[in-house]
Symmetry: D3
Subunit: 241 residues, 6 copies
Amino acid sequence: MSRLGISDTTYKKLHHISTATLTTQLLKRGFRNTFVVGLTPLRPDLRMVGRAFTLRYVPIREDLDKAVDYDNNSNVQRLAVEAVEAGDVLMIDARSNVNAASFGHILATRILQRGAHGLVTDGGLRDTPAIQQLDLPTYIRQPHATTSVTVHHPADMNVPIGCGEVYVQAGDIVVGDAEGVVVMPVAAADSVAEDGYEQELLETFLQQQVAEGASIKGVYPPNDAMLEAYQHWRDTQDTIE
Amino acid sequence: MSRLGISDTTYKKLHHISTATLTTQLLKRGFRNTFVVGLTPLRPDLRMVGRAFTLRYVPIREDLDKAVDYDNNSNVQRLAVEAVEAGDVLMIDARSNVNAASFGHILATRILQRGAHGLVTDGGLRDTPAIQQLDLPTYIRQPHATTSVTVHHPADMNVPIGCGEVYVQAGDIVVGDAEGVVVMPVAAADSVAEDGYEQELLETFLQQQVAEGASIKGVYPPNDAMLEAYQHWRDTQDTIE
Amino acid sequence: MSRLGISDTTYKKLHHISTATLTTQLLKRGFRNTFVVGLTPLRPDLRMVGRAFTLRYVPIREDLDKAVDYDNNSNVQRLAVEAVEAGDVLMIDARSNVNAASFGHILATRILQRGAHGLVTDGGLRDTPAIQQLDLPTYIRQPHATTSVTVHHPADMNVPIGCGEVYVQAGDIVVGDAEGVVVMPVAAADSVAEDGYEQELLETFLQQQVAEGASIKGVYPPNDAMLEAYQHWRDTQDTIE
Amino acid sequence: MSRLGISDTTYKKLHHISTATLTTQLLKRGFRNTFVVGLTPLRPDLRMVGRAFTLRYVPIREDLDKAVDYDNNSNVQRLAVEAVEAGDVLMIDARSNVNAASFGHILATRILQRGAHGLVTDGGLRDTPAIQQLDLPTYIRQPHATTSVTVHHPADMNVPIGCGEVYVQAGDIVVGDAEGVVVMPVAAADSVAEDGYEQELLETFLQQQVAEGASIKGVYPPNDAMLEAYQHWRDTQDTIE
Amino acid sequence: MSRLGISDTTYKKLHHISTATLTTQLLKRGFRNTFVVGLTPLRPDLRMVGRAFTLRYVPIREDLDKAVDYDNNSNVQRLAVEAVEAGDVLMIDARSNVNAASFGHILATRILQRGAHGLVTDGGLRDTPAIQQLDLPTYIRQPHATTSVTVHHPADMNVPIGCGEVYVQAGDIVVGDAEGVVVMPVAAADSVAEDGYEQELLETFLQQQVAEGASIKGVYPPNDAMLEAYQHWRDTQDTIE
Amino acid sequence: MSRLGISDTTYKKLHHISTATLTTQLLKRGFRNTFVVGLTPLRPDLRMVGRAFTLRYVPIREDLDKAVDYDNNSNVQRLAVEAVEAGDVLMIDARSNVNAASFGHILATRILQRGAHGLVTDGGLRDTPAIQQLDLPTYIRQPHATTSVTVHHPADMNVPIGCGEVYVQAGDIVVGDAEGVVVMPVAAADSVAEDGYEQELLETFLQQQVAEGASIKGVYPPNDAMLEAYQHWRDTQDTIE
């Protein structure tokens, strides 16, 4: 995905690396806080790899949001929906407030049509049963049926935000699996994917040893003999290169 | 359901309107706080439409609840179970306390037999694996195996309560889907159902346009041309009238 | 399971008694706080019966945990993994902190190989999609992809701990079902299992009466006639004796 | 205070017994949960002894509370204010919700004029700087400037309530000091006061021994020699009998 | 204060109107959510009236904040400090995160020197004992000794923010007393001050009637006779006009 | 204090360095998490410097704690009280549970007599009004009148603990001021004190410049001219060397 600013190989590998492995690679590079706490995937069967498009909400005040209807020409949420491009993951900073929704079904359908690769909010979501029918990886804190306008005012887009106390800026690489969502700087993505892919292969091998009865001693972490055995095994695998 | 105080048409329509749409209709009528936050459906496959029957718990004190056994002639929880009528949804105010259950399997079986349309508690529930086998729409905050008597004393029934910080009084109309539970005054129900049903039809149509590639501009909200197209489509639908 | 210090009959019965019934039997013996609040089963289809093996984490400090790698000869978490024996349930005191994982896939595989009967943590867990593939009953507060080393330092094993504000000591009997986890002193287990099994049989019968239309009056709690009918029914059942 | 249903001696003693000692005496009688968690005294310099007058709030709904103004003839909060009698402590069940006030300055002035002995709310309070000028023992969870009508609807008075997860019914004896608030059944009050007063005298003596350098061994709990020394000391004290 | 965009009379009156009265006037104008929940004043003896200057923090990421030292030419927090003007109240959006400070002593001294009228953060504050010595009205959620750089990255200034779930934009009028902080649109300030000042005078009079023994009936709300008595009293008062 | 394992100079300096400065020095040495969040000092007028003595509580179970009375020969809490030595700060791990006390007046008196330098608990405390009369620096999460035995079982002493999610081991140096409590490894204390003392002197000087009207530019952080001015000023100060 050229819009993502990463190589095709990285893009492919990121679909096979768990968020657990990614956080470890990021930690090795000094990034300690990359996993969004407390989200639930609506579609745990889908993997998500995309480019962060941020949308920031602030608390509503009655002189800002007069009615339930929205104006597609001025409402920042609506402008964001029509600005999302192919490969983007819409990341919403809803201040972890779950007393209303932060997004709904028709808008989710629209961003999917525009090529969005995912939707992540640290707040509520409405129309969750319908959104689960879309092939859009979606992560939320909690369902809430009520429209966002009762609690949230969309303030701006593509500024740096906090999403579930994780820093996100436009262009970051966002990866999701059934465990949750990891955010990383695009500059780190190629290297993280390369090393993470190798870590995942190695740990797949090591886990097989343990599943067959080996102790973790000498295996996890592996000693030289184990690493050598791994290299033989790795040579037989069909891998992404 | 005549006991519910709503028309048969309303009753039918409420089975097809999402809780998201209902909260929007209620908001248009000035009701801002109608969705119970933080509940999980045990049976997301079932829709729930019923009349609120309220049951209020207060904290236990040792001079009130002497033993684990219950007396069906004096215990307010037990009296409530045998007072529930066909069409009722038992709504429990458990002060959002999840340190014990607030209801269990045999009592849930009994209210289902009496014709209850649902069970909603803002507290814990025990025997959840067994209750999931009943065809009773059930919404809880969290499972907890321990009997309610360790934390809760049933105080009275059919007084106004708060359930998950939403006001509920006996006779209110309660609707649930896989997203959660909405509570509304019975006086508003016919009007809400009528407008909500139309909103749902319209939004189904609009979502289809967007799913087929339309921008939200001119569609959501719809302009005159879109509304006219919708009217043609609506005339072809098999609707509840 | 002789290692558990309970009879074979007790062991069998505990697989058929719900955690709800167990908490009631424990409450009758004066134990009020035996159910771990707020856990989710990764494998609600599996029952868990085992002996508590405790592992205590404290907050990390940078002079203790230098790197992401672990030493199997000194790291208490690793020592615990290789000390778990057949029949054990590894119970982790993670101070209910969900800002990192407290355990992962390869170690979970290893304790399963060593015969562990379950894994319970009041903190986070990483690699949850992979761990769900193991036939290991696992209960967690929340998934978190990040390695435990960012938040937790393993302090000691088999000391008394709090797990989700429930007391656990090595040797306690731990039982889990789809509702959650109950902890009990081994000294109480045989008696609890015997009475709990009878309670469960009786309540199965009573629930059937109610499911067939009986009022709870005279049934729950049962009067003498109902108890007599139960005895006839019980004589026809294939029970564990 | 005859209205309180306790003896004059009890009334006097309760002004000298700490809430800590009272909870211990109540625990000895089987009452485990008698201290309201999380309150702050506005006037830690005042002691409070009175009779519980309960006021129950439920969440607001827009068809109930039309405006900011109150009708003294129908609003339950206002009716309660003019029903409070000398010796009463107004105990408000605000569901521990601190997103608005639950009471204010003019009403607090009025209940003080009517002879109220205190005001306790598990919610917010407005006009706190002004209320601190009244000689009315007041305990709150948090200040909040906004009128209660935005969040609370007064439902009924003198029904059993939960205040900060402690059971309270009209007529209970309520005692407050700088540490917080204890609630007890009136039937227990005379006995609790008698034993609590003796406990307080004994512990005053024991604390003096420890303050002068004694070990807690033989002192706390006291051995026979220490108890004998205490009896001599007690005979010299000017006590309430 | 001309910078505040309000009249001198309004400015004076706002120093005499309680935050409780202000929220009522704002509620009458449709503003429901204007009081910042959960703050503590470090200087309850000072009143605060000023113009909002907003500063927004996002979670830190290790590629943004390399060290503990700050660069006064690029760090947004530092730029904000030197951009604050006379009459401003610095309002910090720290996402209600109290795991670090959001401001400290030297910077607080600097904004006081620049003429700041106050400092409000929904996060932590360090050097609180020293800051309490400054004549700067300061409101915080909690003290925390650790520098903000461990948790917060200053993102931008004078954008709309949420502070304790209340909307704030640059130029809003911010008022604080010992109860807490109220935020209002500048367009509403003159009218709110005028009506609030009258409300405060009236309620002062009514409270005196109640303090002298009057029932709330006929007084609160006042009947015509009481309003007439009030007018006579008001004519004798030395008021701000 | 030789028992503390630090020099006399360090001991003296630590009485003059704020917890804010200490966390900065610790952060420079890689220690990120050293301040105990959420505590309130009962005696903000006292400084605390001492050596950590840890006491660990686990949840109570009814087979462990039979009665309210304590046995000084077996109860770990009581053994700890008589094991505390001069210079110790008793640090209690109460799992941040505030539903009961974790310590009381007579025991606090005893540890003060034994030479304790402070008392820190991440749980509740009873007898707080009386304990405030002791010259013992005391930090708590919240007052609670009820004896610890209802919630806590003392498990062991001088093992590593978490206190408010900060790691503490016996022998650590603990410092408290009106802002809160910092914990550091004894091995770091001399160096932290030396550098912290210099930082505090420098910042005192810089704050004075700012208080007299200087911009933070060139001052905070200081440029060479400012550092030179500081050196002249420092030479005139009466410092601890």
